[in-house]
Structures are given as structure tokens and as C-alpha cells.
């Protein structure tokens, strides 16, 4: 099995939407491949942690300045706290980040990971040509969801960058900063422009698709940065 085949069914594996044979095949790949196995374990830990959380957690509104500050600093708050072998687990044990914040962010990322795929699949299957249509427009509900998910992923990144790190992670975080800040700035600008355009032309399906695509890219960028910092 190839990595991309595994990743295509990654979330269904955790979500329980696969046949027994498919599940066995994917589990076998995760056992043989250390990277895929690590990602699977991490996601399962997040899901387990998220299930234990209170139902309503409000994401902070001013997330982006926090990310920028955290990246700029890229320094541990409490150097004596040791990172757990799998970084996700360590966030619950460290005083470097308020426990509720890390947990809330993880819950949001879980929502992000699971609902993103579902929303998009739903929109795709509902539209006759494989794309969005007026009747199945992803705006505003799905876009609001994506926006929330981006906030959650950003919060996770912010938390991750504040944890004690080794030289590899420190180098990764520092190097990520330029590209990430620049990329997110471009994406945020394009999101603002598209939102403004939609305000004057709310039924335009092309604009709706574009806005969704921008949020997807933003989420993917934040998620990739997180994985990068976590696995370095």
C-alpha cells in the first residue's frame, strides 16, 4: 500500500467508516510504516482527548497575532518540561500552555480534520458537475466552519511553538516563520478580497468555490506546519 492510499482513508480509519478488510489493510500499513503509524496514533490520541472535553469551547478571536508572536519567539516558555515521545500527548502535561487552550485547540483540529472532508465530499456529490452549485453553495455554513477550523489549527501551532524543543524543531520553527507568515498573509488578503466580492455578488458559485479553496489552503498550510514542527 502506498502512503497516499493510506492517507486517503486515514480519517475514515479513525472514524470507523471502513469495511473490516479495508481496516485490516490500513492497520497493517500503519504497523509497517513508522510515519503513518505515528500519525495514526497521534490522531487517535487527539480523538480520545477531544471526546473527554466539554462540548463548548470558544476559540480566541485574535489568533493570528498570537501565532506571529509565537513564531517570532520560537522559544520555550518552560525549558525544564520534557516533550513526550509523541508531541500531541505532551500538550496535556505541560504547564507551558494553559491546559484548556491546548485541549480546545485539539478539539477544533479534530473537528477540522473530520468535518472538512465531509463537507467537501457532500458538496461535490451534490453538485451535478462535481463542483459547487447554487443550491449546494458552501457559503456561509461550510466557510464559517473552515474559518473556525483554521483558528483551531493556528491555535495548535501557536501552542506547539511554545513548547520546549530540540535543535531540529527549533530550526524548523525558525525556518517556517518566513514562509508561513508570508503565505498566510497572501491567503488572508485573498480571503478578504473574495469575501468583499461575495458581499456584492452573494450567489456567485465561482466566488464561493474560490473562498472555500482559500480556506482549504490556509488550513492545509497550518496543518502541514504543525506536522512539520511535531515530527522534526
Amino acid at each position: 500500500m502506498r502512503h497516499e492510499d493510506f492517507r486517503a482513508h486515514f480519517h475514515e480509519l479513525v472514524d470507523g467508516g471502513l469495511s473490516e478488510a479495508q481496516r485490516r489493510e490500513l492497520e497493517a500499513h500503519a504497523d509497517a510504516c513508522s510515519d503513518c503509524g505515528r500519525e495514526l496514533r497521534a490522531l487517535r490520541e487527539i480523538v480520545a482527548a477531544a471526546q473527554a472535553l466539554p462540548r463548548s469551547i470558544e476559540p480566541p478571536r485574535d489568533l493570528w497575532p498570537g501565532i506571529e508572536t509565537a513564531i517570532g519567539r520560537a522559544a520555550p516558555v518552560h525549558a525544564r518540561v520534557q516533550r513526550a515521545p509523541h508531541g500531541w500527548r505532551g500538550w496535556f502535561a505541560t504547564p507551558a500552555v494553559p491546559r484548556w487552550a491546548a485541549a480546545g485547540a485539539m478539539a477544533l483540529l479534530v473537528i477540522a480534520i473530520f468535518s472538512l472532508g465531509r463537507d467537501l465530499d457532500r458538496n461535490r456529490s451534490a453538485a451535478p458537475d462535481g463542483g459547487a452549485s447554487n443550491s449546494t453553495a458552501p457559503f456561509p455554513a461550510a466557510v464559517s466552519g473552515l474559518e473556525l477550523q483554521c483558528r483551531g489549527a493556528g491555535q495548535l501551532l501557536q501552542a506547539s511553538l511554545r513548547l520546549p524543543v530540540g535543535p531540529g524543531t527549533r530550526a524548523a520553527a525558525t525556518s517556517l516563520a518566513d514562509g508561513l507568515i508570508s503565505g498566510l498573509s497572501i491567503l488572508d488578503r485573498s480571503i478578504d478580497e473574495t469575501r468583499q466580492a461575495l458581499a456584492s455578488d452573494p450567489d456567485n458559485p465561482a466566488l464561493q468555490r474560490m473562498l472555500t479553496a482559500r480556506y482549504q489552503q490556509k488550513l492545509a498550510l497550518l496543518h502541514a506546519a504543525l506536522l512539520r514542527v511535531e515530527t522534526t
Partner: protein, 302 residues
């Protein structure tokens, strides 16, 4: 006095350079491996150069500098990992590892680096390459390429039927690929030349997309950009259905109509067919322009 001071500084500098150069530690390791071995390479600072050769051997040469302790080579003949080792309990490292690696031509290669350019050549296996701050250059005939870098550029000069290239800020240049291509960037430019493609997905936020390949009979082509222009250079006799839309950009079409303005709001839409309409081309931008140009005959035959 000034001359004396300058001379002292020069001598001190030279001694410092000599000491630094002297601390570079050479490495040379060899392991027997299968011809389709999967090799994983992890490095933080330095360079990673991987070349295929016709031997069932993995060879690692190069130099380690600064506080890099060692390069750990572990695994079995079917799966090897090469990982640069930092001193334990260190949070800062100025060390670099320049790695020159030779693997069998059929090997699969995975590379994860931070501040390293990656260079790959003469390989026929699958490649998965990931850098934070480094260019990625690929030549040869790999079966599949997945390449991602945040700050660097990706340059693929390879005959490959499955390419997936992604950057945040760097440009993506692809020559000689064919078949299935996905390329995405936020701020970079995407440039594709040569090759006959069956499935193409190109996406950019602010960079230009410039495609000069050919479309196979039933090909699908999707190009999407926010502010970047999309430029397609296609052969005169291309057979395709085109569906083009832009919110505030312009459409320039060498193949016929230039599109109608939307009834409400700015922007243009254009739908037309050429030949038997075999391939399907779908392009959309927010403010970027779309240009459909005819490729010169000589260029198209190259």
C-alpha cells in the same frame, strides 16, 4: 597602529577559519541493500544529494561540521534510514551535515530536511521529498514524485508520470513530466513545459501559472488562481472543451471568442470547444488574467 590591528584581525580570522575547517568531520559508510530499497534521509542543516547507481550498495559520504555528532545509518537491506544526530540536551545547533548518498537506481527515497537543498538524480523509484527552507532539484526518471518545500523552489527536469509539487513561496518549474500532474503554490509561479498530460491540476494564489504541455485525448485540466495570471500555450489543433471564468480579470483567447461579461458584477465567462472537444479544460481566477495562446508549430513538435 591601524595596520597592526588589521593584520592581527586577519591572522585571527585565518586561524578561526582553519580551526573551523579542521573541525569538519568526513564520513564514509557503505551498506549492502536490495535494488528496490526504501531509503529515508533526515537532516536539519547542510545539503542532501542523492544519486542512483548500478550497485546494490548504499554509500554515504560527506562532511559533518559544528556540533553534529554522527550520522546514524540503520535498518535492513530493504529499508534504511540515514539520520543526522545532534548532541543530546542541546537546543541550539550550528552544525551542518553535507551528505552525498548513492543508492541503487530502483530505490525509493524519502527525504525530510529543514535548511537543506535536496538534489536527486538518476533514480527510477518513488520519491517523497520535504524541505522547510531549501530548494528541491530532481532529474532522471523517477516513477513518482511528491515534493514539498515552504521557502524554496522546486525544479523537476525528469520524465515522470506522477508528479505532485507544492511550495508556499517558491516557484515550481517542471520540464519533461507527463501523465498526472498536480502543482500548487501560494506565492510562487508555476511553469510547466513539454510532456503529454492526462490529468493536470494547477493552483496558485498570487503567482502566475504558465502551462506549455500537451493534453492527451480525454485529458482533464483544472487551473485556479486568485490574483495570478493563467497562461496556457496549446497546439493549434488542440481538441478540448474550455470553461473559463474570472471575477475581475481579462480573458485573451487565440482560439476564438474572448468571453461575455457577467450579467451582474464584474468579470467574464467563456465556454467554447475546439476540434471534437475531447479534453476538458476548466480555468478560474479572481483577479488574474487568463490567456489561451497558440503554441508555435516548431515549439509544439519539440
Amino acid at each position: 597602529m591601524k595596520t597592526l590591528l588589521l593584520r592581527s584581525l586577519c591572522i585571527a580570522g585565518a586561524l578561526g577559519f582553519a580551526a573551523s575547517a579542521g573541525s569538519a568531520k568526513p564520513i564514509q559508510e557503505k551498506r549492502p541493500v536490495d535494488e528496490d530499497v526504501l531509503v529515508t534521509v533526515k537532516n536539519v542543516n547542510g545539503t542532501v544529494t542523492i544519486e542512483g547507481w548500478n550497485e546494490k550498495q548504499l554509500e554515504v559520504t560527506g562532511t559533518l561540521s559544528g556540533d553534529i555528532e554522527d550520522v546514524e545509518i540503520s535498518g535492513s537491506s530493504s529499508r534504511m534510514t540515514i539520520e543526522v544526530q545532534f548532541p543530546r540536551h542541546t537546543r541550539h545547533s550550528s552544525g551542518e551535515a553535507d551528505l552525498d548518498i548513492k543508492v541503487p537506481v530502483g530505490a525509493g527515497v524519502r527525504v525530510e530536511v529543514v535548511n537543506c537543498p535536496i538534489s536527486i538524480s538518476k533514480l527510477r523509484g518513488d520519491l517523497e521529498l520535504e524541505a522547510v527552507n531549501g530548494d528541491i532539484a530532481i532529474a532522471g526518471e523517477p516513477a513518482r514524485i511528491e515534493a514539498q518545500t515552504v521557502n524554496g523552489k522546486i525544479e523537476i527536469d525528469a520524465s515522470c508520470a506522477h508528479v505532485d509539487a507544492q511550495t508556499v513561496g517558491g516557484r515550481i518549474v517542471i520540464r519533461g513530466a507527463q501523465g498526472d500532474l498536480t502543482a500548487a503554490t501560494v506565492g510562487g509561479r508555476i511553469q510547466v513545459t513539454g510532456g503529454k498530460f492526462e490529468r493536470v491540476r494547477l493552483s496558485s494564489v498570487s503567482g502566475t501559472i504558465d502551462f506549455g504541455g500537451e493534453l492527451a485525448g480525454k485529458a482533464t485540466f483544472e487551473g485556479e488562481s486568485h490574483a495570478g495570471d493563467i497562461v496556457l500555450h496549446l497546439p493549434d489543433g488542440v481538441s478540448a472543451d474550455f470553461d473559463v471564468s474570472t471575477f475581475s480579470g481579462d480573458i485573451d483567447n487565440d482560439f476564438g471568442p474572448t468571453g461575455a461579461r457577467r450579467e451582474y458584477g464584474p468579470g467574464r465567462e467563456l465556454t467554447f470547444s475546439t476540434g471534437d472537444g475531447d479534453a476538458r479544460v476548466r480555468l478560474s481566477t479572481f483577479s488574474g488574467d487568463v490567456q489561451l495562446t497558440k503554441k508555435a508549430q516548431a515549439e509544439s513538435e519539440r
